[in-house]
């Protein structure tokens, strides 16, 4: 900061020093304790899930993650208990990735449209609707998926299979196209699109207005301004929003439960009518589980918890970094 001769520097604001007395210290301690509950709660969730399922990890070790069976034993030891979540773990990743791949272009397009193409009136309406859409319970998405969307999903699957059936990804063994990872992925995509769209829109709206205007002044088209200023500026925020959406998709229970034929087998053919994810496994087996099986379910929950926690921590730090500069 250089000071030109005509101007006087405004004095820096004095740092306020507060001396805390006893009442203040008590107040601060209470507030700190309250603020730390979320921290403690997160720790407790991890600890309790781990302690309750420690026996499973102890008994089965890494086989719990890699094995591919979920068989409840007969109790007398003739058929041993065999619990592992391999197919469900890969199923979780598969369905979430389908959802993410499908929703990314839509979300970016939607955010750009709301922020740069819509008229001011339309923009206001769409922003409100977007907030509302992010609050629709996933159960209603599931219901809509089962009753309304699945017939479209089956038709598209049939079409994809007849055109691209030679791809290993699009092969099927049985020509039943409903309740496949693809259909579930489509519904999950429509579930996470509002989340990614509203984060992206928020990031795009922070683009410095003068930079965009400069582009226009230099004769750029709208797309030119978006490509050279908006997208580079908002890139990390969009990635963060995508990670948030991914975290949501990884932990989704009811929509997947209602839309996917849960079968315990490794399956990477997205149009095949079988699959599953960890959360829907827990919902499916919880009601009739034996005590040992319950522990296995808690262990599965612990794995899911760790998975989403990692994704969300990365997402939170990216979003935090890209929206901090105002």
């Amino acid at each position: 900061m250089s000071i030109s001769p005509g101007l006087q520097a405004t004095p820096e604001a004095r740092e306020l020093s507060v001396i805390f007395n006893r009442a203040d210290r008590i107040f601060r301690r209470i507030v700190t304790a309250g603020a730390l509950t979320s921290l403690i709660l997160l720790g407790l969730i991890g600890t309790f899930l781990f302690v309750r399922s420690a026996q499973i990890f102890n008994d089965r070790g890494l086989k719990f993650i890699t094995g591919s069976n979920w068989t409840a034993g007969s109790g007398d030891g003739v058929i041993p208990d065999d619990f592992s979540i391999g197919p469900m773990l890969t199923g979780t990743l598969l369905v979430s990735l389908i959802a993410l791949v499908l929703s990314m272009p839509l979300a970016i397009g939607g955010a750009l449209f709301v922020e740069f193409y819509a008229t001011p009136g339309l923009k206001k309406v769409l922003t409100t609707l977007l907030d509302l859409a992010a609050a629709i319970p996933s159960l209603i998405f599931g219901l809509w998926g089962v009753v309304f969307f699945s017939s479209y999903g089956e038709r598209w699957s049939d079409l994809l299979n007849s055109r691209f059936g030679w791809l290993p990804l699009m092969k099927v063994q049985n020509e039943v196209f409903g309740r496949s990872p693809f259909v579930a992925g489509c519904v999950l995509a429509s579930l996470i699109t509002p989340i990614i769209t509203s984060v992206s829109r928020e990031v795009f709206s922070r683009t410095p207005r003068d930079l965009v205007d400069t582009c226009y002044a230099l004769g750029s088209t709208r797309w030119g301004a978006i490509k050279t200023v908006v997208l580079p500026f908002g890139k990390s925020g969009v990635i963060g929003g995508a990670m948030l959406g991914l975290g949501r998709a990884l932990g989704e229970t009811v929509a997947v439960y209602l839309l996917l034929n849960i079968v315990f087998r490794y399956n990477f053919r997205i149009l095949e009518s079988e699959g599953g994810n960890i959360a829907s496994l827990i919902a499916l087996k919880f009601g009739e589980a034996t005590e040992y099986e319950l522990k296995a379910l808690v262990a599965a929950g612990f794995v899911l918890f760790l998975l989403t926690l990692v994704v969300n921590i990365v997402a939170a730090s990216i979003v935090e970094r890209s929206t901090r500069h105002r």
Binding site: L42, L139, A316, V319
Partner: protein
């Protein structure tokens, strides 16, 4: 900048800035007519060829618009041609992105209205099977159960959320970054994991599924939303207010409790309402903690309790025509609740800024 303009000039009428780059009225109306023509053309394609349904119509429209854009931009330079095509792609992506939830709103309203009869809001399912006609039985027990659990959850999380908001904006201790970070990453805890956590602790300890357990699971999911909104709201309080309070000799605790918090009272209400809207439709945690029930339960510790999401979920699994219709009506009630909560939050939150 403002000092350059002399006071006398200020009174003069400022001319509207001209915007030569904006499309003229003529081009606008031509665009609208062309778009309407494309709509008709694609409708004709759907009627006359193999393409069918809404998806077929969308595809036809997209192709027609692409062709029309190509023709209209034959004489323009490459840059604006590219711009026009990107515009088409962005608009189609936006339409595709907005279509699912438009369709959800529409189908929930259309299919749910049929079952929305007075009995749906006053009766329970104790003496009615899901397959009975829609003029028998209702979801009153589920609404009451949901309200009960959500209110308990709100009563637990609101103070905690406010405290963490106050910590982040007033105290600003050493743990500020950590607390904010934990709240952020906690908002991503899958709902079923919250259910499992309460199951392994509270349900195990009381050896009973109950509304209280459901409320605790919902509270875990609600806390991040409430804490974050509270922080956002408290950030809006101007520092002048705090300085004024300190200047009058108030201590930090008095400043926070009697100056800062009262100014954002309605904002904190918004935080609570948004938290409620976030969890009222959660199904998965309730499947593990409160189960479901067909009769009126008012005691949060008195065993399994009905709730709107588990009611819908149960009906969906039965899968007969009437039960699915009931599920749609339940979804309509749930959606209306979310809508009302959202509108209230906006209305209450808007008051602060004025």
């Amino acid at each position: 900048m403002s000092t350059i303009i002399a006071p006398a000039e200020k009174t003069e009428v400022v001319p509207e800035p001209i915007t030569p780059w904006k499309p003229s009225q003529k081009t606008k109306s031509v665009s609208i007519i062309v778009f309407l023509a494309s709509l008709f053309l694609s409708a004709a394609i759907v009627l006359l060829t193999g393409l069918a349904g809404i998806d077929g119509f969308g595809l036809a429209l997209f192709c027609v618009v692409i062709v029309v854009t190509t023709v209209r931009n034959l004489r323009s330079n490459q840059k604006s041609r590219k711009d026009a095509f990107v515009g088409v792609f962005v608009a189609s992506a936006a339409m595709l992105a907005f279509f699912p939830w438009m369709s959800i709103f529409a189908s929930v309203i259309v299919k749910g209205v049929r079952g929305l009869q007075p009995n749906f809001l006053v009766e329970n399912m104790q003496f009615t099977t899901p397959d009975d006609e829609l003029n028998m039985g209702g979801a009153a027990h589920a609404v009451i159960g949901s309200m009960l659990m959500v209110s308990i959850a709100a009563a637990i999380t609101l103070p905690l959320g406010i405290l963490s908001g106050v910590y982040l904006t007033e105290i600003r201790g050493r743990l500020t970054f950590l607390v904010r970070f934990v709240v952020q990453s906690m908002s991503g805890v899958p709902s079923i994991v919250a259910g499992l956590f309460v199951y392994t602790t509270f349900v195990d300890y009381t050896s009973k599924f109950s509304g209280m357990a459901g409320a605790l699971a919902l509270a875990v999911l609600m806390l991040p939303t409430v804490a974050r909104t509270a922080e956002e709201v408290l950030k809006l309080v101007p520092d002048d207010l705090r300085s004024a309070s300190y200047a009058l000799g108030a201590r930090q605790w008095r400043t926070s409790l009697m100056v800062v918090l009262p100014t954002v009272r309605s904002g904190l209400m918004t935080a609570a309402i948004l938290g409620v809207a976030r969890v009222i439709g959660e199904t998965a945690p309730l499947l593990l903690t409160s189960l479901s029930n067909n009769s009126f339960i008012f005691n949060p510790l008195g065993g399994p309790i009905g709730s709107l999401p588990t009611y819908i979920f149960g009906l969906l699994q039965i899968g007969t025509e009437n039960s699915i219709n009931r599920a749609w009506t339940g979804s309509l009630v749930l959606l209306i609740l979310v809508l009302v909560l959202f509108t209230t939050a906006r209305y209450v939150g808007g008051k602060d800024k004025r």
